[in-house]
Protein backbone atom coordinates (compact mmCIF):
# COMPACT_ATOMS: atom_id res chain seq x y z
CA UNK A 1 0.00 0.00 0.00
CA UNK A 2 1.30 3.46 -0.80
CA UNK A 3 2.85 5.01 2.22
CA UNK A 4 0.92 8.27 1.88
CA UNK A 5 -2.37 6.53 1.46
CA UNK A 6 -1.79 4.35 4.47
CA UNK A 7 -0.77 7.35 6.59
CA UNK A 8 -3.93 9.22 5.63
CA UNK A 9 -6.06 6.20 6.49
CA UNK A 10 -4.23 5.92 9.79
CA UNK A 11 -4.87 9.55 10.68
CA UNK A 12 -8.51 9.36 9.69
CA UNK A 13 -8.99 6.23 11.78
CA UNK A 14 -7.34 7.81 14.79
CA UNK A 15 -9.49 10.92 14.44
CA UNK A 16 -12.62 8.80 14.18
CA UNK A 17 -11.65 6.90 17.29
CA UNK A 18 -10.98 10.05 19.27
CA UNK A 19 -14.25 11.66 18.30
CA UNK A 20 -16.27 8.47 18.67
CA UNK A 21 -17.68 9.39 22.11
CA UNK A 22 -19.06 12.63 20.69
CA UNK A 23 -21.34 10.81 18.32
CA UNK A 24 -22.14 7.64 20.13
CA UNK A 25 -23.86 7.48 23.49
CA UNK A 26 -24.61 3.80 23.87
CA UNK A 27 -22.68 2.32 26.80
CA UNK A 28 -22.78 -0.92 24.93
CA UNK A 29 -20.88 0.45 21.98
CA UNK A 30 -18.28 1.83 24.39
CA UNK A 31 -18.04 -1.54 26.06
CA UNK A 32 -17.27 -3.30 22.81
CA UNK A 33 -14.66 -0.71 21.83
CA UNK A 34 -13.01 -0.96 25.23
CA UNK A 35 -12.83 -4.74 24.96
CA UNK A 36 -11.44 -4.32 21.47
CA UNK A 37 -8.67 -2.04 22.66
CA UNK A 38 -7.91 -4.38 25.56
CA UNK A 39 -7.64 -7.31 23.20
CA UNK A 40 -5.33 -5.30 20.96
CA UNK A 41 -3.10 -4.42 23.89
CA UNK A 42 -2.65 -7.97 25.10
CA UNK A 43 -2.35 -9.33 21.59
CA UNK A 44 0.25 -6.82 20.53
CA UNK A 45 2.29 -7.40 23.67
CA UNK A 46 2.16 -11.15 23.25
CA UNK A 47 3.36 -10.73 19.70
CA UNK A 48 6.64 -9.32 20.97
CA UNK A 49 7.59 -12.60 22.62
CA UNK A 50 5.50 -14.90 20.46
CA UNK A 51 5.46 -13.52 16.95
CA UNK A 52 8.81 -11.75 16.83
CA UNK A 53 10.88 -13.96 19.10
CA UNK A 54 9.12 -17.21 18.28
CA UNK A 55 8.49 -18.27 21.88
CA UNK A 56 4.82 -19.18 22.04
CA UNK A 57 3.93 -18.64 25.65
CA UNK A 58 0.45 -19.92 26.45
CA UNK A 59 0.78 -18.65 29.98
CA UNK A 60 0.36 -14.91 29.62
CA UNK A 61 -2.59 -14.99 31.97
CA UNK A 62 0.06 -15.03 34.70
CA UNK A 63 1.00 -11.42 33.87
CA UNK A 64 -2.51 -10.29 33.11
CA UNK A 65 -3.76 -11.71 36.36
CA UNK A 66 -0.91 -10.34 38.43
CA UNK A 67 -1.50 -6.85 37.07
CA UNK A 68 -5.19 -7.22 37.81
CA UNK A 69 -4.79 -8.52 41.34
CA UNK A 70 -2.12 -6.09 42.47
CA UNK A 71 -4.10 -3.11 41.23
CA UNK A 72 -7.28 -4.38 42.86
CA UNK A 73 -5.74 -5.35 46.19
CA UNK A 74 -3.88 -2.07 46.58
CA UNK A 75 -7.02 -0.15 45.76
CA UNK A 76 -9.28 -2.10 48.05
CA UNK A 77 -7.00 -2.66 51.03
CA UNK A 78 -4.66 0.31 50.97
CA UNK A 79 -6.81 2.85 49.12
CA UNK A 80 -4.06 3.38 46.58
CA UNK A 81 -5.58 4.78 43.39
CA UNK A 82 -5.26 2.40 40.48
CA UNK A 83 -3.24 4.74 38.29
CA UNK A 84 -0.50 4.43 40.92
CA UNK A 85 -1.20 0.85 41.96
CA UNK A 86 -0.79 -0.46 38.45
CA UNK A 87 2.91 0.44 38.55
CA UNK A 88 3.35 -1.79 41.57
CA UNK A 89 1.68 -4.42 39.45
CA UNK A 90 4.14 -3.76 36.66
CA UNK A 91 7.08 -4.09 39.05
CA UNK A 92 5.81 -7.45 40.27
CA UNK A 93 5.09 -8.57 36.73
CA UNK A 94 8.67 -7.82 35.69
CA UNK A 95 10.00 -9.94 38.52
CA UNK A 96 7.65 -12.77 37.70
CA UNK A 97 8.55 -12.61 34.01
CA UNK A 98 12.25 -12.87 34.85
CA UNK A 99 11.62 -15.83 37.13
CA UNK A 100 9.44 -17.58 34.57
CA UNK A 101 11.97 -16.82 31.88
CA UNK A 102 14.78 -18.33 33.88
CA UNK A 103 12.78 -21.53 34.29
CA UNK A 104 11.19 -21.85 30.91
CA UNK A 105 13.69 -20.50 28.43
CA UNK A 106 15.92 -23.50 28.94
CA UNK A 107 13.31 -25.39 26.97
CA UNK A 108 12.64 -25.17 23.30
CA UNK A 109 9.64 -25.26 21.05
CA UNK A 110 6.64 -27.21 22.34
CA UNK A 111 8.36 -27.96 25.66
CA UNK A 112 8.58 -24.23 26.29
CA UNK A 113 4.88 -23.97 25.54
CA UNK A 114 4.02 -26.68 28.04
CA UNK A 115 6.22 -25.14 30.69
CA UNK A 116 4.61 -21.74 30.22
CA UNK A 117 1.23 -23.36 30.75
CA UNK A 118 2.37 -25.16 33.87
CA UNK A 119 3.75 -21.98 35.40
CA UNK A 120 0.59 -20.02 34.70
CA UNK A 121 -1.52 -22.76 36.23
CA UNK A 122 0.66 -22.82 39.34
CA UNK A 123 0.09 -19.09 39.69
CA UNK A 124 -3.65 -19.43 39.24
CA UNK A 125 -3.88 -22.19 41.82
CA UNK A 126 -1.73 -20.21 44.21
CA UNK A 127 -4.04 -17.24 43.79
CA UNK A 128 -6.92 -19.54 44.69
CA UNK A 129 -5.25 -20.89 47.77
CA UNK A 130 -3.51 -17.84 49.22
CA UNK A 131 -6.72 -16.48 50.68
CA UNK A 132 -5.21 -13.79 52.88
CA UNK A 133 -3.60 -12.27 49.83
CA UNK A 134 -6.20 -12.64 47.14
CA UNK A 135 -9.44 -13.66 48.88
CA UNK A 136 -9.16 -16.96 47.07
CA UNK A 137 -11.89 -18.24 44.81
CA UNK A 138 -14.33 -15.63 46.08
CA UNK A 139 -12.42 -12.96 44.27
CA UNK A 140 -12.24 -9.26 44.93
CA UNK A 141 -15.09 -6.91 44.21
CA UNK A 142 -14.55 -3.17 43.95
CA UNK A 143 -16.93 -1.17 41.86
CA UNK A 144 -16.19 2.31 43.18
CA UNK A 145 -13.12 4.09 41.99
CA UNK A 146 -11.52 7.13 43.58
CA UNK A 147 -12.01 10.28 41.56
CA UNK A 148 -9.05 11.31 39.47
CA UNK A 149 -7.88 14.73 40.49
CA UNK A 150 -5.24 17.03 39.10
CA UNK A 151 -4.39 19.85 41.49
CA UNK A 152 -7.68 19.63 43.37
CA UNK A 153 -9.89 19.59 40.26
CA UNK A 154 -11.83 16.43 39.56
CA UNK A 155 -11.12 15.33 36.02
CA UNK A 156 -13.36 12.28 36.16
CA UNK A 157 -15.06 10.11 38.71
CA UNK A 158 -15.27 7.11 36.45
CA UNK A 159 -19.03 6.84 36.55
CA UNK A 160 -19.50 6.76 32.80
CA UNK A 161 -17.53 4.66 30.39
CA UNK A 162 -15.95 7.57 28.55
CA UNK A 163 -12.78 7.79 30.66
CA UNK A 164 -12.30 4.06 30.31
CA UNK A 165 -12.68 4.41 26.57
CA UNK A 166 -9.97 7.03 26.28
CA UNK A 167 -7.59 5.29 28.65
CA UNK A 168 -7.80 2.01 26.78
CA UNK A 169 -7.52 3.78 23.42
CA UNK A 170 -4.36 5.56 24.49
CA UNK A 171 -2.93 2.36 25.98
CA UNK A 172 -3.62 0.52 22.75
CA UNK A 173 -1.92 3.22 20.67
CA UNK A 174 1.07 3.27 23.00
CA UNK A 175 1.40 -0.51 22.86
CA UNK A 176 1.32 -0.54 19.08
CA UNK A 177 3.86 2.28 18.90
CA UNK A 178 6.17 0.47 21.30
CA UNK A 179 5.81 -2.74 19.31
CA UNK A 180 6.66 -0.83 16.15
CA UNK A 181 9.73 0.78 17.71
CA UNK A 182 10.90 -2.53 19.13
CA UNK A 183 10.44 -4.29 15.82
CA UNK A 184 12.55 -1.75 13.98
CA UNK A 185 15.26 -1.51 16.59
CA UNK A 186 18.28 -3.64 17.29
CA UNK A 187 16.24 -5.47 19.90
CA UNK A 188 13.70 -6.41 17.28
CA UNK A 189 16.40 -7.55 14.93
CA UNK A 190 17.85 -9.84 17.57
CA UNK A 191 14.41 -11.15 18.51
CA UNK A 192 13.72 -12.16 14.97
CA UNK A 193 17.12 -13.72 14.55
CA UNK A 194 16.41 -15.89 17.56
CA UNK A 195 13.06 -16.84 16.09
CA UNK A 196 14.59 -17.88 12.79
CA UNK A 197 17.42 -19.93 14.23
CA UNK A 198 18.42 -19.59 17.84
CA UNK A 199 21.71 -21.42 17.50
CA UNK A 200 22.81 -19.49 14.44
CA UNK A 201 21.96 -16.26 16.21
CA UNK A 202 24.00 -17.38 19.17
CA UNK A 203 26.89 -18.17 16.93
CA UNK A 204 26.67 -14.65 15.55
CA UNK A 205 27.09 -13.25 19.04
CA UNK A 206 23.48 -12.67 20.04
CA UNK A 207 22.88 -13.82 23.60
CA UNK A 208 19.58 -15.69 23.39
CA UNK A 209 18.93 -15.72 27.13
CA UNK A 210 19.25 -11.97 27.42
CA UNK A 211 17.08 -11.19 24.42
CA UNK A 212 14.43 -13.77 25.14
CA UNK A 213 14.05 -12.42 28.64
CA UNK A 214 13.99 -8.86 27.35
CA UNK A 215 11.19 -9.75 24.97
CA UNK A 216 9.27 -11.50 27.72
CA UNK A 217 9.62 -8.58 30.11
CA UNK A 218 8.42 -6.02 27.56
CA UNK A 219 5.55 -8.29 26.68
CA UNK A 220 4.70 -8.89 30.31
CA UNK A 221 4.67 -5.21 31.22
CA UNK A 222 1.96 -4.26 28.78
CA UNK A 223 -0.03 -7.39 29.52
CA UNK A 224 0.13 -6.53 33.22
CA UNK A 225 -1.04 -2.98 32.59
CA UNK A 226 -3.93 -4.34 30.57
CA UNK A 227 -4.77 -6.64 33.47
CA UNK A 228 -4.82 -3.73 35.90
CA UNK A 229 -7.08 -1.77 33.59
CA UNK A 230 -9.41 -4.74 33.14
CA UNK A 231 -9.70 -5.15 36.89
CA UNK A 232 -10.88 -1.64 37.58
CA UNK A 233 -13.08 -1.52 34.51
CA UNK A 234 -15.00 -4.69 35.32
CA UNK A 235 -14.78 -4.18 39.08
CA UNK A 236 -14.32 -7.87 39.87
CA UNK A 237 -11.38 -10.27 39.74
CA UNK A 238 -11.08 -13.90 40.63
CA UNK A 239 -8.59 -16.53 39.56
CA UNK A 240 -10.95 -18.01 37.01
CA UNK A 241 -11.53 -14.65 35.33
CA UNK A 242 -8.05 -13.21 35.09
CA UNK A 243 -5.60 -16.05 35.49
CA UNK A 244 -7.12 -18.91 33.60
CA UNK A 245 -5.74 -20.89 30.69
CA UNK A 246 -8.69 -19.59 28.66
CA UNK A 247 -7.29 -16.09 28.80
CA UNK A 248 -3.85 -17.23 27.74
CA UNK A 249 -5.34 -19.15 24.84
CA UNK A 250 -7.50 -16.23 23.75
CA UNK A 251 -4.52 -13.91 23.70
CA UNK A 252 -2.60 -16.25 21.44
CA UNK A 253 -5.56 -16.93 19.17
CA UNK A 254 -6.18 -13.24 18.49
CA UNK A 255 -2.63 -12.97 17.19
CA UNK A 256 -2.75 -16.14 15.16
CA UNK A 257 -5.95 -15.14 13.46
CA UNK A 258 -4.85 -11.59 12.83
CA UNK A 259 -1.35 -12.37 11.75
CA UNK A 260 1.47 -13.43 13.98
CA UNK A 261 4.58 -11.33 13.89
CA UNK A 262 2.92 -8.33 12.27
CA UNK A 263 2.22 -4.97 13.87
CA UNK A 264 -1.44 -4.77 13.01
CA UNK A 265 -2.17 -8.48 13.20
CA UNK A 266 -3.47 -8.45 16.78
CA UNK A 267 -5.54 -5.35 16.02
CA UNK A 268 -7.12 -7.01 13.00
CA UNK A 269 -7.63 -10.21 14.93
CA UNK A 270 -9.35 -8.27 17.69
CA UNK A 271 -11.58 -6.43 15.24
CA UNK A 272 -12.59 -9.74 13.78
CA UNK A 273 -13.23 -11.51 17.03
CA UNK A 274 -14.28 -9.09 19.76
CA UNK A 275 -17.37 -7.50 18.20
CA UNK A 276 -18.66 -10.85 17.01
CA UNK A 277 -18.04 -12.44 20.38
CA UNK A 278 -19.82 -9.67 22.25
CA UNK A 279 -22.67 -9.45 19.82
CA UNK A 280 -23.24 -13.17 20.16
CA UNK A 281 -22.82 -13.23 23.92
CA UNK A 282 -25.28 -10.45 24.53
CA UNK A 283 -27.82 -11.84 22.12
CA UNK A 284 -27.60 -8.82 19.83
CA UNK A 285 -27.32 -11.08 16.81
CA UNK A 286 -30.27 -13.17 17.93
CA UNK A 287 -32.31 -10.03 18.48
CA UNK A 288 -31.39 -8.72 15.05
CA UNK A 289 -32.51 -11.98 13.48
CA UNK A 290 -35.82 -11.76 15.33
CA UNK A 291 -36.31 -8.15 14.24
CA UNK A 292 -36.09 -9.14 10.59
CA UNK A 293 -39.09 -11.27 11.28
CA UNK A 294 -37.63 -14.30 9.54
CA UNK A 295 -37.64 -16.30 12.72
CA UNK A 296 -40.04 -15.80 15.58
CA UNK A 297 -38.80 -15.76 19.14
CA UNK A 298 -41.44 -18.21 20.25
CA UNK A 299 -40.76 -20.83 17.63
CA UNK A 300 -38.62 -23.87 18.38
CA UNK A 301 -35.82 -22.70 16.19
CA UNK A 302 -36.18 -19.20 17.57
CA UNK A 303 -35.78 -20.23 21.17
CA UNK A 304 -32.93 -22.57 20.22
CA UNK A 305 -31.17 -19.62 18.62
CA UNK A 306 -31.83 -17.40 21.60
CA UNK A 307 -30.55 -19.90 24.12
CA UNK A 308 -27.59 -21.10 22.19
CA UNK A 309 -26.25 -18.37 19.94
CA UNK A 310 -24.84 -16.71 23.00
CA UNK A 311 -22.59 -19.69 23.55
CA UNK A 312 -21.46 -20.00 19.99
CA UNK A 313 -18.70 -17.44 20.32
CA UNK A 314 -16.02 -19.82 21.46
CA UNK A 315 -17.01 -22.24 18.75
CA UNK A 316 -16.41 -19.50 16.21
CA UNK A 317 -12.98 -18.88 17.73
CA UNK A 318 -12.15 -22.51 17.27
CA UNK A 319 -13.33 -22.64 13.68
CA UNK A 320 -11.48 -19.45 12.79
CA UNK A 321 -8.28 -20.74 14.33
CA UNK A 322 -8.43 -24.04 12.49
CA UNK A 323 -9.17 -22.31 9.18
CA UNK A 324 -6.45 -19.75 9.68
CA UNK A 325 -3.81 -22.26 10.67
CA UNK A 326 -4.62 -24.59 7.84
CA UNK A 327 -5.07 -22.08 5.07
CA UNK A 328 -3.72 -18.75 6.25
CA UNK A 329 -0.88 -19.53 8.63
CA UNK A 330 0.24 -15.94 8.47
CA UNK A 331 -3.12 -14.75 9.60
CA UNK A 332 -5.47 -12.35 7.98
CA UNK A 333 -2.82 -9.67 7.63
CA UNK A 334 -0.41 -12.05 5.97
CA UNK A 335 -3.13 -13.33 3.69
CA UNK A 336 -4.15 -9.81 2.74
CA UNK A 337 -0.54 -8.98 1.93
CA UNK A 338 -0.27 -12.00 -0.33
CA UNK A 339 -3.48 -11.06 -2.10
CA UNK A 340 -2.26 -7.50 -2.47
CA UNK A 341 1.03 -8.53 -3.98
CA UNK A 342 -0.74 -10.91 -6.34
CA UNK A 343 -3.02 -8.12 -7.39
CA UNK A 344 -0.07 -5.79 -7.89
CA UNK A 345 1.70 -8.39 -9.97
CA UNK A 346 -1.44 -8.82 -12.00
CA UNK A 347 -1.54 -5.12 -12.68
CA UNK A 348 2.12 -4.62 -13.43
Amino acid sequence: MGSRLSNIILLLTLAALFFFPRFVASPYAFHIMILLFLSTIVGTSWNIIGGYTGQYSIGHAAYFGTGAYVTMVLMKDKQIPPWLGVWAGVALVIIIALVIGSICFRLRGPYFVLASIAVAEIMRLSAMNLKELTNGAEGILATELPAFRIGGRVITDFVSKTPFYYISLVLAIVTIVVAFLVLHSKLGYCFQAIREDQDAAHALGINPTFYKNAALVISAIFTGIAGGFYAIYVGFVDPATVMSLDISVQIVLVCIIGGIGTIYGPLIGSILIVPITEALRSNLIAEAIFKTGMVSQESHFGSFLKENLAHAHALIYGILVVLVILFMPEGVVGFQRKLWSKWNKGLG
Binding site: G54, Y56, I103, R106, L107, G109, P110, Y111, V113, L114, A115, I117, A118, V119, E121, I122, L125, S126, M128, N129, L245, V249, V252, L253, I256, E307, N308, H311, A312, A314, L315, Y317, G318, I319, L320, V321, V322, I325, L326, P329
Partner: protein
Protein backbone atom coordinates in the same frame (compact mmCIF):
# COMPACT_ATOMS: atom_id res chain seq x y z
CA UNK B 1 -3.78 -49.69 61.90
CA UNK B 2 -3.42 -46.24 63.48
CA UNK B 3 -5.84 -43.88 61.82
CA UNK B 4 -3.20 -41.60 60.33
CA UNK B 5 -1.69 -44.54 58.50
CA UNK B 6 -5.11 -45.70 57.33
CA UNK B 7 -5.84 -42.33 55.84
CA UNK B 8 -2.46 -42.33 54.14
CA UNK B 9 -2.84 -45.78 52.64
CA UNK B 10 -6.39 -44.94 51.66
CA UNK B 11 -5.05 -41.97 49.75
CA UNK B 12 -2.34 -44.01 48.08
CA UNK B 13 -4.79 -46.68 47.00
CA UNK B 14 -7.43 -44.29 45.64
CA UNK B 15 -4.67 -42.40 43.89
CA UNK B 16 -3.28 -45.51 42.24
CA UNK B 17 -6.72 -46.57 41.06
CA UNK B 18 -7.41 -43.21 39.48
CA UNK B 19 -3.86 -43.24 38.20
CA UNK B 20 -4.76 -46.20 36.06
CA UNK B 21 -7.27 -44.07 34.19
CA UNK B 22 -4.80 -41.22 33.92
CA UNK B 23 -2.33 -43.71 32.48
CA UNK B 24 -4.76 -44.56 29.71
CA UNK B 25 -5.02 -40.89 28.78
CA UNK B 26 -1.26 -40.51 28.93
CA UNK B 27 -0.58 -43.55 26.79
CA UNK B 28 -2.85 -42.23 24.07
CA UNK B 29 -1.10 -38.88 24.01
CA UNK B 30 2.27 -40.56 24.14
CA UNK B 31 1.57 -42.70 21.10
CA UNK B 32 0.39 -39.71 19.15
CA UNK B 33 3.50 -37.81 20.09
CA UNK B 34 5.75 -40.72 19.48
CA UNK B 35 4.56 -41.29 15.96
CA UNK B 36 3.68 -37.80 14.85
CA UNK B 37 5.64 -35.55 17.19
CA UNK B 38 2.47 -33.59 17.83
CA UNK B 39 1.28 -32.50 21.25
CA UNK B 40 -2.43 -33.09 21.08
CA UNK B 41 -4.15 -30.29 22.95
CA UNK B 42 -7.52 -31.76 22.04
CA UNK B 43 -6.87 -35.00 23.89
CA UNK B 44 -9.00 -34.09 26.90
CA UNK B 45 -11.83 -33.06 24.61
CA UNK B 46 -11.78 -36.49 22.97
CA UNK B 47 -12.07 -37.88 26.49
CA UNK B 48 -15.07 -35.64 26.98
CA UNK B 49 -16.67 -37.02 23.83
CA UNK B 50 -16.18 -40.50 25.25
CA UNK B 51 -17.92 -39.43 28.45
CA UNK B 52 -20.92 -38.08 26.59
CA UNK B 53 -21.08 -41.19 24.41
CA UNK B 54 -21.14 -43.43 27.43
CA UNK B 55 -23.69 -41.20 29.16
CA UNK B 56 -26.14 -41.33 26.29
CA UNK B 57 -25.58 -45.02 25.64
CA UNK B 58 -26.49 -45.53 29.28
CA UNK B 59 -29.39 -43.10 29.43
CA UNK B 60 -30.98 -44.06 26.13
CA UNK B 61 -30.06 -47.71 25.70
CA UNK B 62 -29.29 -48.80 29.22
CA UNK B 63 -25.80 -49.93 28.29
CA UNK B 64 -23.48 -50.05 31.25
CA UNK B 65 -20.52 -47.69 30.85
CA UNK B 66 -17.97 -50.45 31.20
CA UNK B 67 -19.71 -52.46 28.51
CA UNK B 68 -20.07 -49.40 26.32
CA UNK B 69 -16.29 -49.31 26.07
CA UNK B 70 -16.60 -52.03 23.44
CA UNK B 71 -18.74 -49.72 21.32
CA UNK B 72 -16.76 -46.59 22.06
CA UNK B 73 -13.36 -47.96 21.07
CA UNK B 74 -14.13 -48.55 17.39
CA UNK B 75 -16.18 -45.36 17.03
CA UNK B 76 -13.54 -43.14 18.54
CA UNK B 77 -10.73 -44.93 16.75
CA UNK B 78 -12.43 -43.93 13.54
CA UNK B 79 -12.91 -40.40 14.86
CA UNK B 80 -9.26 -40.05 15.74
CA UNK B 81 -8.13 -41.39 12.41
CA UNK B 82 -10.51 -39.02 10.67
CA UNK B 83 -9.18 -36.03 12.61
CA UNK B 84 -5.69 -36.95 11.54
CA UNK B 85 -6.60 -37.46 7.92
CA UNK B 86 -8.62 -34.29 7.51
CA UNK B 87 -6.72 -31.83 9.66
CA UNK B 88 -3.45 -32.95 11.17
CA UNK B 89 -2.16 -34.51 8.00
CA UNK B 90 -1.94 -31.13 6.32
CA UNK B 91 0.27 -29.80 9.05
CA UNK B 92 3.01 -32.37 9.15
CA UNK B 93 5.68 -29.95 8.00
CA UNK B 94 4.48 -26.94 9.91
CA UNK B 95 6.08 -25.45 12.98
CA UNK B 96 5.38 -27.58 16.07
CA UNK B 97 3.85 -24.52 17.69
CA UNK B 98 1.38 -24.21 14.86
CA UNK B 99 0.51 -27.89 15.09
CA UNK B 100 -0.20 -27.38 18.75
CA UNK B 101 -2.40 -24.40 18.00
CA UNK B 102 -4.30 -26.42 15.44
CA UNK B 103 -5.10 -29.01 18.05
CA UNK B 104 -6.17 -26.21 20.41
CA UNK B 105 -8.56 -25.01 17.74
CA UNK B 106 -9.92 -28.50 17.20
CA UNK B 107 -10.40 -28.89 20.94
CA UNK B 108 -12.31 -25.62 21.11
CA UNK B 109 -14.56 -26.75 18.28
CA UNK B 110 -15.25 -30.06 20.02
CA UNK B 111 -16.01 -28.67 23.45
CA UNK B 112 -18.11 -25.78 22.19
CA UNK B 113 -20.05 -27.84 19.70
CA UNK B 114 -20.97 -30.12 22.58
CA UNK B 115 -21.94 -27.10 24.65
CA UNK B 116 -24.24 -25.90 21.92
CA UNK B 117 -25.74 -29.32 21.49
CA UNK B 118 -26.12 -30.35 25.11
CA UNK B 119 -25.72 -27.09 27.10
CA UNK B 120 -23.10 -26.86 29.78
CA UNK B 121 -25.28 -28.38 32.49
CA UNK B 122 -23.48 -30.96 34.52
CA UNK B 123 -24.69 -34.47 33.81
CA UNK B 124 -24.32 -37.20 36.36
CA UNK B 125 -24.32 -40.84 35.42
CA UNK B 126 -25.44 -43.07 38.24
CA UNK B 127 -25.10 -46.79 38.04
CA UNK B 128 -25.95 -49.26 40.76
CA UNK B 129 -22.32 -49.49 41.68
CA UNK B 130 -21.38 -45.80 41.42
CA UNK B 131 -20.84 -45.55 45.13
CA UNK B 132 -20.17 -49.17 45.95
CA UNK B 133 -17.00 -50.15 47.70
CA UNK B 134 -15.22 -53.07 49.23
CA UNK B 135 -13.43 -52.68 52.53
CA UNK B 136 -10.12 -54.42 53.13
CA UNK B 137 -8.19 -53.89 56.36
CA UNK B 138 -9.99 -50.63 57.07
CA UNK B 139 -9.33 -49.28 53.61
CA UNK B 140 -12.20 -48.93 51.23
CA UNK B 141 -11.70 -49.68 47.58
CA UNK B 142 -14.10 -48.02 45.20
CA UNK B 143 -15.73 -50.65 43.03
CA UNK B 144 -16.07 -48.61 39.87
CA UNK B 145 -12.47 -47.44 40.17
CA UNK B 146 -11.23 -50.96 40.77
CA UNK B 147 -13.05 -52.28 37.74
CA UNK B 148 -11.72 -49.38 35.65
CA UNK B 149 -8.23 -50.21 36.82
CA UNK B 150 -8.59 -53.82 35.74
CA UNK B 151 -9.99 -52.82 32.37
CA UNK B 152 -7.15 -50.36 31.92
CA UNK B 153 -4.61 -53.01 32.78
CA UNK B 154 -6.19 -55.29 30.25
CA UNK B 155 -6.18 -52.66 27.52
CA UNK B 156 -2.59 -51.72 28.26
CA UNK B 157 -1.53 -55.36 28.06
CA UNK B 158 -3.36 -55.74 24.76
CA UNK B 159 -1.74 -52.59 23.44
CA UNK B 160 1.68 -53.78 24.46
CA UNK B 161 1.08 -57.09 22.70
CA UNK B 162 -0.14 -55.19 19.63
CA UNK B 163 2.91 -52.97 19.51
CA UNK B 164 5.44 -55.71 20.03
CA UNK B 165 3.96 -58.75 18.35
CA UNK B 166 2.02 -57.56 15.32
CA UNK B 167 3.40 -56.22 12.09
CA UNK B 168 1.35 -53.03 12.22
CA UNK B 169 2.38 -52.47 15.78
CA UNK B 170 6.02 -52.85 14.96
CA UNK B 171 5.60 -50.56 11.99
CA UNK B 172 4.21 -47.94 14.34
CA UNK B 173 7.17 -48.31 16.64
CA UNK B 174 9.53 -48.05 13.72
CA UNK B 175 7.86 -44.85 12.60
CA UNK B 176 8.15 -43.49 16.11
CA UNK B 177 11.83 -44.26 16.23
CA UNK B 178 12.74 -42.80 12.87
CA UNK B 179 10.05 -41.79 10.44
CA UNK B 180 12.36 -41.36 7.47
CA UNK B 181 14.06 -44.68 7.90
CA UNK B 182 10.70 -46.34 8.32
CA UNK B 183 9.50 -44.80 5.09
CA UNK B 184 12.58 -46.06 3.31
CA UNK B 185 11.76 -49.51 4.59
CA UNK B 186 8.41 -49.32 2.83
CA UNK B 187 6.22 -48.38 5.75
CA UNK B 188 3.32 -46.11 4.86
CA UNK B 189 4.08 -43.36 7.34
CA UNK B 190 0.89 -41.44 6.65
CA UNK B 191 -1.16 -44.50 7.46
CA UNK B 192 0.80 -45.01 10.66
CA UNK B 193 -0.07 -41.47 11.63
CA UNK B 194 -3.76 -42.17 11.17
CA UNK B 195 -3.57 -45.36 13.17
CA UNK B 196 -1.66 -43.63 15.95
CA UNK B 197 -4.25 -40.89 16.21
CA UNK B 198 -6.99 -43.48 16.06
CA UNK B 199 -5.48 -45.42 18.94
CA UNK B 200 -4.87 -42.24 20.91
CA UNK B 201 -8.44 -41.13 20.42
CA UNK B 202 -9.87 -44.52 21.32
CA UNK B 203 -7.83 -44.65 24.51
CA UNK B 204 -8.82 -41.14 25.57
CA UNK B 205 -12.49 -41.81 24.94
CA UNK B 206 -12.28 -45.11 26.80
CA UNK B 207 -10.80 -43.31 29.78
CA UNK B 208 -13.78 -40.97 29.60
CA UNK B 209 -16.22 -43.86 29.62
CA UNK B 210 -14.42 -45.47 32.55
CA UNK B 211 -14.56 -42.30 34.63
CA UNK B 212 -18.15 -41.47 33.79
CA UNK B 213 -19.81 -43.42 36.65
CA UNK B 214 -17.77 -41.55 39.23
CA UNK B 215 -17.39 -38.03 37.91
CA UNK B 216 -19.57 -35.38 36.35
CA UNK B 217 -19.90 -34.74 32.69
CA UNK B 218 -19.85 -31.31 31.05
CA UNK B 219 -18.35 -29.91 27.86
CA UNK B 220 -15.34 -28.19 29.41
CA UNK B 221 -14.23 -31.17 31.47
CA UNK B 222 -11.52 -32.00 28.94
CA UNK B 223 -8.98 -29.28 29.60
CA UNK B 224 -8.06 -30.43 33.10
CA UNK B 225 -7.39 -33.91 31.74
CA UNK B 226 -5.35 -32.60 28.82
CA UNK B 227 -3.05 -30.85 31.25
CA UNK B 228 -2.68 -34.01 33.31
CA UNK B 229 -1.96 -35.96 30.15
CA UNK B 230 0.91 -33.61 29.31
CA UNK B 231 2.38 -34.05 32.72
CA UNK B 232 2.13 -37.83 32.49
CA UNK B 233 3.50 -38.07 28.99
CA UNK B 234 6.47 -35.85 29.74
CA UNK B 235 7.17 -37.70 32.97
CA UNK B 236 7.04 -41.06 31.34
CA UNK B 237 8.93 -39.99 28.31
CA UNK B 238 7.21 -38.81 25.17
CA UNK B 239 6.39 -41.88 23.16
CA UNK B 240 6.84 -44.48 25.85
CA UNK B 241 3.81 -46.62 26.66
CA UNK B 242 5.39 -48.16 29.73
CA UNK B 243 6.53 -44.72 30.82
CA UNK B 244 3.07 -43.25 30.49
CA UNK B 245 1.61 -46.13 32.50
CA UNK B 246 4.03 -45.61 35.34
CA UNK B 247 3.69 -41.84 35.03
CA UNK B 248 -0.09 -42.05 35.28
CA UNK B 249 0.03 -44.08 38.44
CA UNK B 250 2.65 -41.83 39.98
CA UNK B 251 0.63 -38.71 39.21
CA UNK B 252 -2.56 -40.25 40.53
CA UNK B 253 -0.82 -41.25 43.73
CA UNK B 254 0.96 -37.90 44.13
CA UNK B 255 -2.28 -36.01 43.68
CA UNK B 256 -4.08 -38.09 46.24
CA UNK B 257 -1.32 -38.00 48.83
CA UNK B 258 -0.86 -34.23 48.43
CA UNK B 259 -4.56 -33.86 48.93
CA UNK B 260 -4.28 -35.61 52.25
CA UNK B 261 -1.01 -34.24 53.49
CA UNK B 262 -1.35 -30.66 52.32
CA UNK B 263 -4.86 -29.87 51.16
CA UNK B 264 -7.00 -30.52 48.14
CA UNK B 265 -6.41 -26.98 46.94
CA UNK B 266 -2.68 -27.46 46.53
CA UNK B 267 -2.60 -30.90 44.99
CA UNK B 268 -2.54 -29.66 41.42
CA UNK B 269 0.26 -27.25 42.25
CA UNK B 270 2.33 -30.20 43.41
CA UNK B 271 1.59 -32.02 40.17
CA UNK B 272 2.61 -29.05 38.03
CA UNK B 273 5.69 -28.43 40.12
CA UNK B 274 6.75 -32.04 39.59
CA UNK B 275 6.07 -31.52 35.89
CA UNK B 276 8.36 -28.50 35.73
CA UNK B 277 11.08 -30.32 37.59
CA UNK B 278 10.95 -33.22 35.18
CA UNK B 279 10.91 -30.86 32.19
CA UNK B 280 13.93 -29.05 33.50
CA UNK B 281 16.06 -31.89 34.75
CA UNK B 282 14.98 -34.95 32.88
CA UNK B 283 13.11 -33.74 29.80
CA UNK B 284 13.40 -37.14 28.19
CA UNK B 285 11.28 -38.47 31.03
CA UNK B 286 11.75 -41.24 33.50
CA UNK B 287 12.06 -43.88 30.85
CA UNK B 288 14.48 -41.94 28.71
CA UNK B 289 14.24 -41.49 24.97
CA UNK B 290 11.42 -42.34 22.63
CA UNK B 291 11.03 -46.00 23.14
CA UNK B 292 7.68 -47.62 22.96
Amino acid sequence: MPSGMTVFFQAVLSGVLIGGIYALIGIGMSIIFGVMRIINFAHGDILMLGMYLSYYLFALAGIDPFVSVLIIIPIMFAFGALLQKVFINRMLDALPQNQLLLTIGLGLIMSNAMMLAFTSDYKILTTSYSSASVTLAGISISEPLAISFLITAGITALLYWFLTRTDTGQAIRATAQDAQAAQLMGINVKRMGMIAFGIGGALAATAGALISPTYYIYPQVGSAFTLKAFVITVMGGMGSVVGATIGGIIIGGTESVSSVCISSGWKDVVVFAVFLLVLLFKPAGLMGKSRM
